[in-house]
Amino acid sequence: MNAIIISAVWGILMMFSGIVSDKGPFIRNVAVIGLALLLVGNYLDLIGYHFFAIDAHKMLFFDTFGLLANTVIFGSTLIYVLLSGRDIEKIAQRMPVAECFALVFFVLCGVSLVTTFNTLLMLFLGIEIISIPLYILTGSDKRNLKSNEASLKYFLMGCFSTGVMLLGIALLYGASPTGSFSIDELGIGRSNLSALYMAGLLLLLVAMGFKVSAAPFHFWTPDVYDGAPTVFTSFMATIVKAGIFIGFIRLFDETFSDSQTKWQLFVAIITAVTLFIGNITAVFQQSVKRMLAYSSIAQAGFMLLALLSINGLAREGILLYAAAYSLATIGIFAILIKMKDYTFEGFNGLAKHHPLLAATCTIFLLSLAGIPLTAGFFAKYYMLASVIETGHYLWLVIFAVLCAAVSVYYYFRVIQAMYFKDGDAQVIETRSGFKGLLVVVAALIILLGVFPNLLLDKLNTLIYTW
């Protein structure tokens, strides 16, 4: 509860901070404080100390899984703001920075709803609270046609998926024996499903799949990520996606786990398609930004493996994955924003002029590719392990690793450009603080890559008690 309320309140605060002063640094600091507060509040929640005694009538359920997810998400948001916060001003002149931050906080509010919802209503509200600000942020570069286009596309398709989702919810409601939206009541004793229930389930799968950009519902992703201001692309691709994924897992874990065998096949299909399309299409991209958009699809495919096999490993894994993926992607985008030219050629010879940027970027890419010694490896490891644990779908696992091998192709294209190709990569000014932070993030990734248990031991203890 702390997180939801603080984020909402701080969102409003941010709105007014714009009135107090429109100096970028000031606003940023307010935001940073807010995020720090969020982290603290969420942590207090985690250790069972709640600021507000509000009876949510079982519409929200604050379990460790959700709260840990929050921690990961807020943490990466904090890093995100520190790394790329000041680039928000640069999107356009007279950019309403304060409002943007406000929207970011509202999104966080939505995310923390999605991670702890207990009825479909809350899920719905959460998703909407996430989506609506995102439509805006995508279009925040008003004079830029690409930005507009992205925003409108995102909006139209988002609404459509909302419609699909609602239909699903409605059907589930109809199927629910007690006439309630609460996921614990929906779940009970669903070994064999009524047609209504199954239909609702599938529609929900589709709608959520759309939000996490799972193929074939991913088509908005490349365009939107490409069109949106890079700062917000980074935000969407990492924090939001991770948050919604947590919700996705939570939904299927809580509601449909009894009938897992019935829907596993569908998830498997979607996963396979997602992995395939995401990885293959990324290969041919010429712009790193767009490549990252596709890679985010590919990564989503990997996360879907956790959905396929909902078990202890999957729960741990998805959190680790969220953390690893968010950190790495935020880092890369932070560097990408600094680049003058977003194409692969734009990275040529970066290592010569900015060795540090190149080195950190390499580590992020390696992590995304899932090379050992980086967090990305264990993230992928958990996904694979969780599926193998189920004992079925070995073909999917092998397919997944082959796709991972393909992914190496396009990630390493960047590395090649930076190290082995000659050229003068143009970079706009970078402060030492920025670089320092990059190094910290990289170190964090390596650390998680060698000792993932720093994050996971907690989960082991907590999740299995949950």
Partner: protein, 631 residues
Amino acid sequence: MIQLVWLVPVLPLAGFLINGLFRNSLSKGMTSIVGCGVLLASFILSLLIFGEVRQENFQAVTVTLFDFISVDKLHIPFAFQVDQLSILFLLIITGVGFLIHLYSTAYMHEEEAPHFARYFAYLNLFVFSMLLLVLGANFVILFIGWEGVGLCSYLLIGYWFKNIDYGNAAKKAFIMNRIGDLGFLIAIFWMINQFGSVNFSEVFTAAPGTSTAVLTGITLLLFVGATGKSAQIPLYTWLPDAMAGPTPVSALIHAATMVTAGIYMIARSNILYSLAPLTQNVVAIIGLATALLAATIALKQNDIKKVLAYSTVSQLGYMFLGLGVGAYTGAVFHVMTHAFFKALLFLGAGSVIHAMGGEQDIRKMGGLKKYIRTTHWTFLIGCIAIAGIPPFSGFFSKDEILAGAFAKSPVYYVVGVFTALLTAFYMFRLYATTFLGNFRGTHDQEHHLHESPSAMTIPLIVLALLAAVAGFLGVPEAFAKNSHWLGHFLEPIFARGAVEHAAEGGVSQEWMLMGISVVVALIGVIAAWTRFSKKPDLAEPSGFGKVLANKWYVDELYNAIIVRPLYAISKFLNNVIEKWVIDWLVNGVGRLVQYGSRQLRLLQSGQVGGYVLLMVIGILALFLVELFVKK
């Protein structure tokens, strides 16, 4: 004393190391002293050991140095075996070896010091390996020496490495030997699999208990090895080319010692062979065929060394015939005598070439006997010996083999005798064309003609003596009881294996055989003498002669059916399979991904309508799966 036998090979090794490592600092004098000294030392050592071995009821001694390979059940000690057979070869190798080293000091004198040293280093290394070969107490050590000598012959044939042809000859020698060695190796593996050991003692004791089929297989494979090393059909073609090396090398390696390794190996494992009659026949036939083939070729060769080379092949054929018919003593006897007279002949040839300033074509010689007397006389003795005219050594040994052959089957005998005829003929053709008649060389060659220095002539003389008298070591029983000293000496080796046919047919028959062979030899000699002493055939050979001159076109045949196809295949694999099949497939996967990427991204049409449509289709698909597939 016998325990010191390891010194015999180690000394030449030391010589090799000294000459090899300090080749740049040593003077020629020093080099020759080291080179010859070690040989002399080990020769003396061998003599001392021989003194112990020749005592009555001497039992074979095995000297184990260390454990070479020992893996679970398989134990291969690095051990030497001293017995009558090995000591005999020891003497031949070190003795003849020493003489040839001595000879070389003069013959190679034009070389600059480093190369001179390199030469002697190789030579010493060769002797080392050869000694290893004959001393080894098991097949693996034997094999080590076996390949060692192969290497040395490779190095020495290619000694003048600037000349590509010599290099090719060396390569040919090595590779053909390799082919044989493969057979040898497989035989060894088979033995390991069969007897669990490669030690002579254990293998031979276990042999009688094993099935003939297995033994036949093993012995045949061993024989494949022998054909490679001892230049028998089909692997003989390398030996004539090997004449590219310096003449003393030809004398030592390609006449006296190395090429007899095959005979040694088979004689050594005579027990196995006696148990595999099929193999014996194969050996005999191959040997006979080789003897005949080589002899015919030798008829039409004009390169003095080539003639000797083919005669060597032919003589080796004789030895295999002997082995095949079970006349092991005869074979070994012939090895010894052959070592003497063939070394003699080669060195003589060397001396001739030396005198002629490098000229090797006998058509450009003639009438040399008045210029180089010593060489001439010694060479003549050699010819007589090889022609098999009593009482020179060749007669006794060859006769013993022929006797054995006759006992086995008259056919063998007839062919053998015919070959003897040819041998006598071409040897004296050579002699006559070279030494008789009048000089056909250029003018300055005639001026240049001179007798070789004593360092060369002394070995000639010594060898000539040996070639003349060595035969008396094995006087047939027909003359006097127990006159066959060698036979008695080698009895412990061959007692169980060999069957001495000589005595069987009765004395009279043996006299007759001898008579025949002598007559035949004389016919050949006289025919050649009369024909070539006055007017040697300088005409280009024609008709059948051409075929012989071109060695039955065997080399061309091999080229056509083995070498060229091999290169063709390798070219095909390299240019086609590798590039256009395997690698193409590998890269094809990459290209496929690229292509797929290019096509898939067209889905991303940029049209919202299209996207929604695809989404709807996706939903439809899921429901259809739900409706139909899952049922």
